[in-house]
């Protein structure tokens, strides 16, 4: 039996299901990717000499101009804007992707009208949020109520300083990158606590206290699990950790070392909890606390909170990809090859730009893979209870992370060939599990016979 709706006859997604899927994938990758591509193209100008060389070709003598520093500053400003804009664009695109995937999973239509396959809906949502009344409850602490979203925004934006996107595309490769990231991303919970307190609402207070307890607890297993790849690489620099891995799955830290394999899952679980994603969305548990810490917020302030929530997924995914899944490493292409392709000119060669783009693509695909996994989990799993959330952290994840940590202390003394063997065995095991999962899924689908009621959008 097939339920037909008025939308069916006109819906593009129903007429061109494959095109819809391809378009979704394209937008997922292209939009964030394009922003960073501009960054990549501007990369050579980061050095004042490159700026001089361009000016010379145009016939200006920038080298002795008093505006040399100004021009340099303008370029850095543009680059900085792109990096901070990236969070907004990614969060927007992710809301659309998430709603598309959720629609598919829930056998409903999802956004499909504005723009191509509903792509513009996130822009429309942003405008709607802008024009909504900015309401502050009468008894609220007005200053803190207004300030709270900015704490969260700071916690979202600062980690992007050290998050790499490609072989050379990173704002600053700090030598304490991992520490910097865990430290700055904790700002988000300050926003949650302040908003809950300032709202002067019992629901918001419940959400805020839950959020604080959750994020503070889960930072411990996350921090210990993160130390595993740090030890294996011997550096805290994000780029350094990626360079210590390779392009093929058996060269990734997650597969090289059994403890890192476990630590990967601990880190991902803990970051789900830190990002307040289902099954750990307790601070905003809709069915319990109405909307939790942002129950009293409206207009653009809630847009900021939601943006933080969605853009946090990129940080969660990018961190896991960097530490455990080989980052931007291209299979079969070593870092030396890319560096050699650069040439000695002020401007890099076209081949170098090509390899850089490929490395960015590899990083984006891996991170999007994890983000889609987070979305999948959110639309599948129920929510855990507060005490279960706490006991999972303290009884299982913290001891587990410690065990991985201690195992890795000894593992780094093991000779390299063992790493290779364990890498091949583990990645083969993962591949087998994936095949088994696919077969099981096929069997499950075949089991549901009879008339299917199909309202899916792809």
């Amino acid at each position: 039996m097939r339920i037909t709706t008025a939308l069916d006859s006109t819906s593009l997604t129903r007429r061109y299901p494959k095109t819809a899927l391809a378009t979704t994938l394209f937008f997922m990758l292209a939009l964030p990717f394009l922003l960073y591509l501009v960054l990549l193209l501007m990369l050579p100008f980061n050095r004042p000499e490159a700026l001089d060389a361009v000016a010379q070709r145009l016939g200006w003598d920038l080298g002795h101009s008093p505006y040399r520093e100004t021009w340099y500053g303008v370029i850095l400003l543009v680059e900085g804007t792109i990096v901070s804009l990236y969070t907004a664009v990614f969060a927007g695109v992710t809301t659309w992707v998430e709603r598309r995937i959720a629609g598919r999973m829930q056998s409903r239509i999802g956004p499909n009208r504005p723009g191509v396959f509903g792509f513009i809906s996130w822009v429309a949502d942003a405008f709607k949020m802008l024009f909504k009344e900015d309401l502050i409850p009468a008894e609220a602490d007005r200053l803190l109520f207004r300030a709270a979203p900015y704490f969260s925004m700071v916690g979202l934006t600062l980690p992007f300083v050290v998050l790499p996107f490609g072989e050379s595309v990173v704002v600053a490769d700090l030598n304490v990158g991992v520490f910097y990231l865990t430290a700055t991303s904790a700002f988000v919970v300050v926003g949650i606590l302040v908003s809950g307190w300032a709202s002067n609402s019992k629901w918001a207070l419940f959400g805020a206290v839950r959020g604080a307890a959750q994020v503070v607890s889960y930072e411990i297993p996350a921090g210990i699990a993160i130390m595993v790849p740090v030890m294996m690489a011997g550096t805290l620099s994000m780029q350094g950790i990626i360079r210590a891995q390779g392009g093929w799955p058996w060269q990734w830290f997650a597969c090289q070392n059994p403890a890192a394999f476990v630590a990967f899952f601990i880190a991902v679980t803990a970051s789900l909890a830190e990002g307040n994603r289902t099954p750990f969305d307790l601070p905003e548990a809709e069915s319990e606390l109405v909307a939790g810490y942002h129950a009293e917020y409206s207009g653009f302030r809630i847009a900021l909170f939601l943006m933080v929530e969605w853009a946090n997924m990129w940080i969660m995914g990018a961190l896991a990809v960097t530490l455990f899944l080989g980052g931007w490493q291209i299979p079969g292409v070593s870092v030396e090859m890319i560096n050699q392709a650069r040439g000695t000119d002020v401007f890099p060669t076209l081949i170098w730009f090509g390899w850089q783009s490929v490395s960015m693509l590899v990083f984006a695909v891996k991170t999007w893979g994890l983000v889609v996994l987070f979305i999948w989990l959110r639309w599948t799993l129920p929510r855990v209870r507060v005490d279960q959330m706490m006991s999972l952290c303290w009884k299982y994840l913290v001891p587990g992370a410690f065990a991985c940590f201690i195992f890795t202390l000894f593992w780094v003394m093991v000779p390299a060939p063992v790493h290779l063997v364990s890498g091949v065995v583990l990645s083969l095991g993962v591949a087998l599990l994936l095949v088994k999962f696919a077969l099981r899924t096929r069997k499950n689908i075949a089991q549901v016979k009879g008339a299917r009621v199909d309202l899916s959008n792809w």
Binding site: M1, I3, A102, M105, Q106, S107, R108, K202, W203, F206, T278, P279, D281, A285, E286, S287, E288, L289, V290, W379, T380, L381, P382, R383, V384, R385, V386, D387, Q388, N444, Q447, V448, K449, G450, A451, R452, V453, L455
Partner: protein, 371 residues
Amino acid sequence: MSPSDEEIVINFGPQHPSTHGVIDFVTQTNGEIIRRSIPDIGYLHRGLEKIGETVGYPGYMPFTDRIDYLAAMLANEGYAMAVERLLKLEVPPRAKYLRAIAGELCRISNHWVAVGSMAADIGASTPLTHALREREAINDLLEELCGARLTFNYARIGGVSFDVPEGWREKIVRYLDHLESYVQEWDRLISLNQIYVKRLANVAVISRDKAIAYGLCGPNLRGSGISWDTRRDLGYGAYPEFKFGVPIGQGKMGAVGDCWDRYAVRVLEMLESSKIIRQALDKLPEGEIMAKVARKPKPEPGEAMARVESARGEMCYYVVADGSENAYRVRVRTGSFMAMGIIEEMSQGLMIADLIALIASFDVVAPEIDR
């Protein structure tokens, strides 16, 4: 109630995503632990019982839809049965069968909403939309039968309003085939999900004695392991002619009578309803669908009561006639109202999330509580 220094009073409702309508749970909590929660009902009181005294016997039928809008077929049937007893009418067998088919379809559709919204209350949003999709198919079937999708107004005093439309039987069989295999997918999706089971097992365990003492009924009673089903034990309508099981809570995941048991009973009941519909479709007798009834029946003075197994438990209609066109009194006893009484005792010591699970496991519908 006056809270101590550490306790706060917080109102779950009347506007809250998980109260299943306009109910207020006045909850005294110490942090996440609830000291007690008292249901404050009455926000949806529309005086439906009083209306029964003013609109005449057949005219009250659409109002019974509004008593329980998620299982309106069963609410119709109860009222029709009560008035038929007053009039001493014999309903034609075909009408009895049609009431059973429509009623069981309605029960399945109601239970889809019940289990789906329960999953949503526990925090999983996908099962709800899948459940609503399944319910949509039943809405279509019932729309073909009687033209309405929610407030059916299908039963009549002395029979039913419409006969089976063409091709309806085949569609039902196709849907039931789908349903029986889909329940397996449903179990994989949510019933056996470990987080879900851990959230519900051993939560708010209602013992046999307590369930009886508080007058729980229907799936809530059976969840505590008591095998009582009005359809089987009182055998009204066409039900004595069908073979079907009565699922009871068995404590598979925890203790007998926990939230998971009440949930599982509903899932299993859908399969039993499916069996009843199949048998009824096979045996569906030919003949009239309405008995001979006056346009404005005037029963002899007297009283009658009808008990039907509604989706939310035993639904009793008590109608008193004084010999005029209008009833002297109409009273309704509903399953949701009975479930409210036990919440104050069961909520003591639960966590906030457990209270939501407890309310959801009773499958209450606010208009049925208040009428």
